[in-house]
Symmetry: C2
Subunit: 441 residues, 2 copies
Amino acid sequence: MQKRPRIVIIGAGFGGLYAARTLEQKAVDVLLIDRQNYHTFTPLLYQVATAGLEPEEIGYPVRGIFRAKSNIAFLMGEVIGVNTAEKYVEVITSERTRHEHYDYLIVAAGSVTNDFNLPTLARDSFELKTLPDAIALRNHILRSFETAAWTDDEDYRRALITLVVVGGGATGLETAGALVELFKNVLSKEYPFLRDITPRVVLVEATDRLLIPYPKSLQAAALRQLKSLGVEVILGSPVKATAPDHVTLSDDRVIPTYTLIWAAGVKASPMGALLDLPLNRGGRVPVTATLEAAPLDGVYVIGDMAYLEDASGHPYPMLIPVAKQQGILAAKNILRRIEGRNQEAFRYADRGIMATIGRSRAVAWIFNKVELTGYLAWLSWLGLHLIALLGFRNRLNVFINWVWNYFTYDHSVRLIVEVPDETGGIPAMVMDEPETDLITR
Amino acid sequence: MQKRPRIVIIGAGFGGLYAARTLEQKAVDVLLIDRQNYHTFTPLLYQVATAGLEPEEIGYPVRGIFRAKSNIAFLMGEVIGVNTAEKYVEVITSERTRHEHYDYLIVAAGSVTNDFNLPTLARDSFELKTLPDAIALRNHILRSFETAAWTDDEDYRRALITLVVVGGGATGLETAGALVELFKNVLSKEYPFLRDITPRVVLVEATDRLLIPYPKSLQAAALRQLKSLGVEVILGSPVKATAPDHVTLSDDRVIPTYTLIWAAGVKASPMGALLDLPLNRGGRVPVTATLEAAPLDGVYVIGDMAYLEDASGHPYPMLIPVAKQQGILAAKNILRRIEGRNQEAFRYADRGIMATIGRSRAVAWIFNKVELTGYLAWLSWLGLHLIALLGFRNRLNVFINWVWNYFTYDHSVRLIVEVPDETGGIPAMVMDEPETDLITR
C-alpha cells in the first residue's frame, strides 16, 4: 500500500502545534483537531483580561499557521472518544459526528482549571484558560467600574472595586500586577470617583509562599515587588468558600468582592479518560520515556496531559516549554518509527521560568542557575515573548501593535463587548451547540 | 441659583458624541448616556464582519474620548422613559433604574434595522448595526467555511458558501465587495476545497437600481465594479420570504444559503415614541429648523431619529454627516439659549457621499457636483476615514494598525470567538440582564 501514514493530533495548543509543525512537509498526512479555529498564546491572556491587549493579538488561526498546500489538515471539532482497538478518533463537528482514522495519535488536549472540589467555583469565579475567558473577565471588570461609578451604596462600591486573585503562581502574580496597573495608569484617569477611593487587588495563596518552584530569594523578591506595586498579599490562606458577592478564607476572613479570579492551578484535561488507561493523580496519563502511552500502540500523550518523571523522580511540570519540546519529540519519534529507526527518550532542556509583576518588574530563574529580578528580568521576559510571537510567520505587524499597546495602554481595548453564540437560524443539522438568545448587551 | 445647566444626551453615536464634544469645557454639566461603553465607528463595521479589521479598531471607549476632568459625565445604561413634564430621563443601569434630571435634552439614539415587516428576519438573517453584530457575522462566516471544508453533502456545501446580501445601498455594496475579497485573497489560500468550488456572493436589491441617492452614471459604475469583482447582482427583486437555509425572492426564485445579511435599510430608533409626540413615517420625530421637538421645551432630537426637510422639501437623509452637524448645532443652540441669544437654523453642509466596492474601487459624489469612480474615489474614501479616525485624540497607533491590517489582511482577525454574557455569578442586584450559560464551544 502506498498510502501515507496518517497522524491525528488532538489539540492545537503549544504541544499539538509544535508536533504539527515538526511534521510539516514530511511524508505523512496530519489531521490537527481543535475545538477552536485558532491557537492561543496563553501567557498573555492576563493582558487581554486586564484590557492591555486586544484579543486578536494573541489568537492565531490554525489555518493561517499552516499553508494551504501543506500536509497539515485542520478540523474544528470536539473529540469525544478514542477507539484504540480500531484506531479512530470520534469527533463532534458543527455538522455531525465523524470517525477519523489514525495510524499514529498524539493526544495534546492540555489542562483545565483545578477547582479543588469547590462546587461553587464555576458560578462565583473567573478562570483564565481561553480567550473568551479573558474577554469575559475584561468585560466584567469594566462593567464593575461602570456600576461603581454611579452607585450610592458605599459598601457595594467598595466590593465592586475589590478584586481577588487566587493562586500564588506566575499566572496569579501576573494578573494581580496587571490589575493594579490598569487601575493606576488608566482607570484612575477615567473615573472621577477613584479620586476618593482606591481599588483593591488582593492575592490569596494557600501555601506560605509565592512561586513555589522558584528559589527562596526570588520568592521574596516577588513578594516585595507585588507589595510595592500595591497588591495585598495573603499567604497561608486557602479559600474555604465562595459566594457571588464575597469569598471566605480558611481563617474565616471574609472579603466582599464581585470579582474572584481563579488562578490556583490546573489539572490534566479529562480527555485522558478516553484512552481507558489508569491515570495518575491529577488525571495525567503516564507515558514512557519516548512519550508513548503504553500499552497502546502508536498513541503518544504530551504536555499537561502527560505524566513523566525526570531522572531524579520529579514529574515534569505542566509548563509550555515542556509541552513544546514533547510535541516536537513525539512527532520525531513517530517519523523514526515510520522509518524503522529507534525512538529517542525525552530530555527536557530547561531554560528557566519567569513571571512578571506589572509592566516593569519580573522575576526570572534562567537555566536553573541565574536569578534575575526587576527590570532586567522584565526585559528578558519581553524579549522571549516577542520571539515567541514572531515564531509564527513573521508577525511584524502584531509585534508593532503589541509593543505599542503594551507601552501606551491604548484605549481601544477597553470595550465591553459580548458576542452571542450562533443565533442566525442555523438549523440543528449545522450546529450541535444549542442556540441561545442573548440580550445583545 | 448658581447651579450649572444640566444637558442630558441620549446616545453616544455620531450625533450625541459630537454634541457632547461641542459642550466640552463650557459652563454646563453634561450627562452622556449609552447602552454600550464605547462609540462605534460604524462605516467600518462591514470590515470587522468580513474579517478585515479587529473589532477594537473601531470601538472607542466613551470615557477615553472625554478627559476625566471634563464636564462630560458618562452613564452606561438604557433609557426606557422620558418625563418631559418633570424633565427627567428614566435609565436602567446594571444596578437599578435611575431618574436623571435635565434642563436640556438631546435625543440621539440613532436607528435600527428596518425589517420591512418580515417576521422571520430576526431568526434568519444577520444585521450590521453594532460591533457584536459584526463579530457574530464574522464568526458565522468562518464557521460556515469550516463546516463546508468537511461535509460530504455537495448541496449543503454549496449553500454554506453562498452568501446573500440584501440591500443595494452603500452598506450592501461595501459588504458584498469585502466578502468577495475575503474569499479571493484569504480563504481561498486556506481552504483546499475552494480549488474546486467558488463561493458565491449575491447582492439583492428590491428596486431596479443600486445606490438610489447617487447620479445614474455612478449607479452604473457601481454595478460594473461589483460585477467585475465577481458579485452576482439581482435588481428589482424584493425578498419575499426567509428561512434558515434559503431565501425566496419576489419572483419565487430560491437561493439556498445559510448567511443572509440584511443591509436593506434602517428606520428611526423606537425611542422616539418615549417623547409622546406624533411621529412621521419611519418613526422619526419632526423637529423645527433649530432641531427642537416642539412643543416640548428644551428637547432636541437629532440624527437618524429626527425628521426635518430642507429648502426643497426633501427630508434630510439618515447619514452620519447629517447626525454630526445636527449634534453640533443642537449643542450650540442650547448654549445660545442659556446665554439668551437667538438659535440658528440647521443648514446641511453636504460634502457628498461615497461607497466603496472592494479594496480598491469606490464611487463618490463630492459636493453634489464631482463624480469620482475607481481608484481615485477609493483614495478619497481612505483619506476621509483616516481623518475621521484620527479625529479622536491622536490615534496614531490605531491608524498604523488599521492601515496595515487593511492592506495585508492580517491573519489575526480570523478568529471565531464568542464571549458569553455575564456568567460570573453577579447577583440580580447588579445585572438587569438575564444570565445565560453558554457552552463554551
